[in-house]
């Protein structure tokens, strides 16, 4: 395959798969933060 094809291959992988993994990581972190916040609120309510 020509070099330009390899560049396109790498570009697609980094941008699409790398970008998706990065965004999913942010979403997971947000989810766990919200879960912790809800647990704290729940515990405070129980007290």
């Amino acid at each position: 395959m020509p070099v330009s094809a390899w560049i396109m291959f790498a570009f697609g992988c980094i941008v699409l798969y790398g970008g998706a993994i990065w965004c999913i990581t942010i979403a997971v972190k947000r989810g766990s933060k919200e879960k912790k916040r809800n647990e704290v609120a729940h515990n405070q309510g129980a007290d």
Binding site: M1, M8, G12, V15, A20, C23, A27
Partner: protein
């Protein structure tokens, strides 16, 4: 993931020269796909209503844009169901691998019994008609259970196709000639960047695959809880969707490379490009599996079918929500049944021997001159009548990573200008040279006339007074 990834992306990429298509596709994804997805998610979440009502809340006179989007979606789902019917039939053909060794001739001659042109309708194919009826029955069953069941169905039907696609990529890459196929898929052809049709095909593919301009995302986002991270959701959806299309490209183009190797022909000439490509290339890859070919074929087409159902019922859900919002019809079941029966009847044209020609024409016009203009209208409305700054502030208040002023620039200038230029240049091209050399009358009826009818009906519905 839907048919946009597994069925449409490979054929549009092949028709537009493989590597020549990828650069416009990536540009379209970032200049229109992601910005418009943020816009549609935002509209749905803030207005908590279907597409027509969301636009009406900006200004009553823009309600027709919502109906226009739903009208285009309606015509798309009319042939979408036929692609699913093909999958139904191929599911049974997989048991005996009826196509093995003669995939293209099986699809065109044995399965479709294709006629010589769109004017020669011939007879209705009973297996395709039965598949169409079964497809609509399935869509009805899924959607009548409500959006909660939609979530459950999607959870079940999305991960497995990705896994199957990976298996097909591995099989494709190990075939002789696969490297030539990948070189065709990935090598950029900068001379093609001057062709407006390649750009419009790329933008339309992004619209189709991400379901932009259908009104679906607005309806679905209206069910999202207030405070959902719109920006990140839009990025995840767009990047994952494009990533799956990109992956499907590897599966299809490696097999095309094998075809070129086996027939000693140029890769651009090995199969007829068009909507039938997926039903030639995937079966060929399945027939080359070392073991359990029949079982793999059954599972693959079952998955293709469920992918189609995911996409189809989202379109139907968007339209039903629009009709219910406008006319305050409490009986959702009646609306779904009426809509499904009408579209099943409309779909009969695609079950004839000329069905694939009509499917190709309607697909081309609805995507290029339906979805893309709706996207253009959305940019203008939000960019100039709702103020992008206000909209961006609202989105940033609930999102983890804020969108910058680049989004304003995209929605107000870049996306509408690019869309306007490529649409206009393509209209001129289509008038000069009919698409795929179809007879002019057929493109007039299945293309321009349908586009005009959708706009006129949308304008009428937009002006009609809804029930309060």
């Amino acid at each position: 993931m839907g048919l946009g990834n597994a069925w449409r992306f490979p054929y549009v990429a092949y028709t537009n020269g493989g590597g020549a298509f990828l650069i416009p596709y990536f540009i379209a994804l970032f200049t229109a796909g992601i910005p418009l997805m943020i816009l549609e998610y935002g509209l749905g979440q803030f207005f908590q209503s279907s597409a027509p009502l969301a636009f009406a809340k900006i200004k009553k006179r823009f309600e027709f844009v919502g109906w226009w989007a739903l009208g285009v979606g309606t015509l798309i789902v009319s042939y979408y169901a036929v692609i699913m019917s093909y999958s139904f039939n191929y599911l049974f053909h997989s048991i005996t691998l009826s196509w093995a060794g003669r995939e293209e001739s099986f699809f065109m001659k044995d399965f479709l019994r294709i006629s010589s042109g769109p004017g020669e309708l011939g007879s209705i194919s009973v297996p395709i008609l039965l598949g169409l009826i079964l497809t609509w029955l399935l869509i009805y069953l899924c959607i009548s259970k409500g959006t909660e069941s939609v979530g459950k169905v999607v959870m079940l039907t999305v991960p497995l196709p990705v896994l199957l696609m990976v298996v097909l990529v591995i099989r494709g890459l190990t075939l002789p000639g696969a490297t030539e196929g990948l070189a065709y898929y990935l090598t950029p052809d900068f001379s093609k960047l001057l062709s407006p049709s390649v750009w419009l095909a790329a933008y339309s593919q992004v619209f189709f695959s991400l379901s932009l301009g259908f009104g679906i995302l607005i309806a679905y986002a209206s069910y999202k809880p207030k405070g959902s991270d719109i920006t990140n959701d839009a990025f995840i959806t767009s990047l994952v969707d494009a990533g799956i299309s990109y992956l499907a490209g590897f599966a299809v183009f490696s097999v095309l490379g094998f075809f070129a190797f086996a027939t000693q022909r140029d890769i651009s000439q090995v199969v007829s490009a068009g909507p039938g490509l997926a039903f030639v290339v995937y079966p060929a890859a399945i027939a080359k599996m070392p073991v359990a070919r029949g079982a793999f074929g059954v599972v693959f087409f079952l998955m293709l079918l469920t992918l189609g159902i995911d996409s189809a019922f989202s379109i139907v859900e968007g339209v039903v929500a629009g009709i219910q919002d406008k006319f305050r019809i409490a009986n959702k079941q009646a609306v779904i049944i009426g809509y499904s029966v009408i579209l099943c009847l409309v779909g009969i044209i695609y079950t004839t021997q000329a069905g694939l020609y009509w499917l190709d024409i309607v697909d081309h016009w609805m995507n290029n001159f339906g979805l893309a203009p709706v996207g253009f209208a959305e940019c203008i409305i939000v960019g100039y009548f709702f103020t992008t700054d206000r909209f961006r502030r609202e989105i940033n208040s609930v999102s983890d990573f804020p969108i910058g002023k680049w989004w304003n620039v995209m929605i107000r200038f870049v996306t509408p200008i690019v869309l306007a230029i490529v649409i206009l240049l393509n209209i001129i091209t289509e008038i000069k040279r009919p698409y795929e050399n179809y007879p002019f009358w057929s493109t007039l009826v299945g293309g321009w006339l349908l586009v005009a009818v959708v706009i006129i009906v949308s304008l009428i519905l937009g002006r009609l007074k809804g029930k309060e």
